[in-house]
């Protein structure tokens, strides 16, 4: 049986609730879950001040309500599942290493920072810096999958080292900036300056995109890995078309200012 948490009081200032994660609630009865600590702005509060719990602490957690001011849900999550039946605040899935977080609504900025494994699925849009490094850090996510069915904003996958980020809609500027490795697939449009400072890795888009002058055209071909990747995404519910799976892709290499071992693959209509 899953633990069900329902927001009964909307926080006035951000609520930081990293306790909402399977390993923290494991084995707790509902009243015990409500006694877990959270931070409401600068005040220490009980989870129960904002959420009512039903069921008991289990591997699966279901959250109801508009959680757009609730941060850090699923922090350090290692297994199990969290389903958020609405919008969610910043840093969802911070430091996640396993399990799955599903967000039925929109997610705020910093989805899955410092993630190393597991999967985050956002059915709505996500904000800036999805899977990106925090400021000053050398690398972003180093594993796992972040699947956003809607659109994302700037700096998606910044400095990511490993993992897969897929976007059903459009991406903002600087997608895959300073990327170290990994894969970003954008079904919609890329913004400007994708792959700036990229060392290795792949940025894929189904549409034409403006490229930096430090990217060099390579060829038009059918990279087999991409076929696998797109089949995988189709299996996960992304609207990947047959013509994409079997299509030809124009490959651009860059960023020549860095290792020059990255690629941007643009679908050839």
């Amino acid at each position: 049986m899953a633990l069900e948490l329902t927001l009964h009081t909307q926080p006035e200032v951000p609520l930081e609730a990293e306790c909402i994660t399977p390993q923290r609630v494991a084995g707790l009865a509902a009243p015990e879950v409500e006694r877990l600590d959270a931070m409401h702005g600068n005040r220490r509060v009980k989870l129960g001040d904002f959420f009512s719990a039903a069921g008991k602490g289990a591997n699966d957690i279901v959250l109801n309500g508009d959680l757009s001011l609730v941060k850090l849900i699923g922090a350090q999550m290692a297994q199990g599942s969290i389903v958020i039946e609405g919008a969610v605040g910043m840093h969802v899935g911070w430091g996640m290493s396993g399990g799955q977080i599903t967000v039925r609504g929109d997610a705020h900025d910093w989805v899955g920072p410092e993630m190393s494994g597991g999967r985050i699925v956002v059915h709505g849009d996500a904000g800036h810096l999805v899977g990106s490094a925090y400021r000053g850090q050398a690398s972003g996510i180093c594993g796992g999958e972040i699947l956003v069915h809607g659109s994302v904003r700037n700096e998606t996958g910044g400095a990511m080292r490993r993992g897969l980020i897929a976007v059903g809609g459009d991406a903002g500027d600087f997608t895959g900036v300073n990327m170290i490795a990994g894969t970003i697939v954008v079904l919609g449009n890329l913004g400007i300056r994708s792959g700036a400072g990229m060392k290795r890795g792949s940025i894929v888009s189904m549409n034409p995109a403006p490229l930096l002058p430090t990217y060099q055209y390579a060829c038009s071909y059918r990279p087999l890995f991409l076929k696998l990747c797109l089949q995988h995404l189709r299996g996960l519910g992304f609207a990947v078309e047959e013509r994409h799976i079997n299509g030809r892709w124009r490959r651009w290499s860059g960023d020549s200012l860095e290792l020059n071992k990255g690629e941007i693959l643009l679908f050839q209509r």
Binding site: T183, G201, L224, Q231
Partner: protein
């Protein structure tokens, strides 16, 4: 016991532990996949004289391959665990990567694995890249017609090598018909392969009168030597023997293959079916023919 008119000798096949791996070779067309797979399984009949034993397990329809292209499943066995990575590297590197449009995937889930793509990647000369998809790392090695995609890790498991049957008959042609029927039946069983060309002939014993030779003709089952002073195992009615060697990922698969093979050979009129062993002193597995046919489980071991 007998199946129809075929006599089943109350003996057992003595089989050995080997290490096995399965590679799925795919290509743009079945033709190229098969070409690569054949090349990959060439000169891999017996560890007596080859570095490994390998053969095509089956063709895999596009819908069932990792990349949705036509594929061929190849099984490859070695005696020692430490050799299998090297053999896979050589054969995938030299026979698959060199063949147009191909890719090569791991076909065996196992707790043990060896890094093959991780070793082959250096062919990319620094331009290779790896991708992790669903927890599985693939290496992309640039080649002149695109990229060669190969799994980093190939599962390996302890397997069974040297399961065998002797199909005996009155003439070579009749016996071969029975043997081929057996081979065909066995090929339909998953997780096994028959390392010898076409599945049969083989026929060697351990050792030789010549120093340094590890195997020689199995004189005890050689009809033409019946009068040459060897201790023959053949009744006078037998003028030809076909040995079928069966390697399998599991003992159960080997047993099932042997069962299917014996049944098919009997259908085609084999006179006697027997198996080879060394008195049970060498191999780990004793595959009792009657027991296999009785389907009562193994009690020979």
């Amino acid at each position: 016991m007998k199946i129809k008119k075929t006599e089943i000798v109350p003996t057992y096949a003595e089989a050995f532990a080997m290490w096995g791996a399965r590679a799925i070779v795919t290509a743009d067309s079945g033709r190229w996949a098969l070409t690569a797979a054949r090349s990959m399984t060439g000169f891999a009949t017996s560890v007596i004289g080859c570095p490994c034993e390998a053969a095509i397990e089956r063709e895999v329809p596009a819908a069932q391959t990792p990349d949705g292209r036509p594929g061929v499943s190849v099984l490859l066995f070695t005696v020692r665990e430490k050799d299998i990575k090297k053999r896979l590297m050589e054969r995938i590197g030299q026979c698959v990567m060199t063949c147009p449009t191909t890719a090569c995937f791991n076909g065996l889930e196992s707790e043990h694995s060896v890094s093959v793509g991780g070793a082959l990647r250096y062919f990319g000369d620094g331009h290779q890249s790896s991708k992790v998809l669903n927890g599985r790392r693939l290496w992309r090695i640039p080649v002149l017609d695109g990229e060669f995609l190969v799994d980093d890790l190939f599962g390996i498991r302890e397997s069974v090598g040297g399961g065998n049957l002797f199909i005996m008959g009155a003439s070579a042609s009749a016996t071969l018909r029975a043997a081929v029927a057996a081979c065909d039946a066995m090929a339909a069983v998953g997780d096994v392969f028959l390392p010898f060309p076409g599945g049969t002939r083989s026929g060697s014993k351990v050792g030789s009168k010549y120093k340094g030779l590890v195997a020689s003709t199995n004189d005890a089952y050689c009809p033409s030597l019946r009068g040459a002073g060897v201790e023959t195992q053949l009744p006078d009615t037998i003028n030809a023997v076909y040995e079928i060697v069966i390697n399998g990922l599991t003992e159960a698969a080997v047993r099932e293959a042997m069962r299917a093979g014996m049944t098919a050979a009997a259908e085609k009129g084999a006179l006697i079916i027997s198996a080879g062993n060394y008195g049970g002193s060498l191999g780990r597995y004793k595959l009792d023919l009657e027991d296999i046919l009785g389907g009562a489980g193994q009690h020979g071991a």
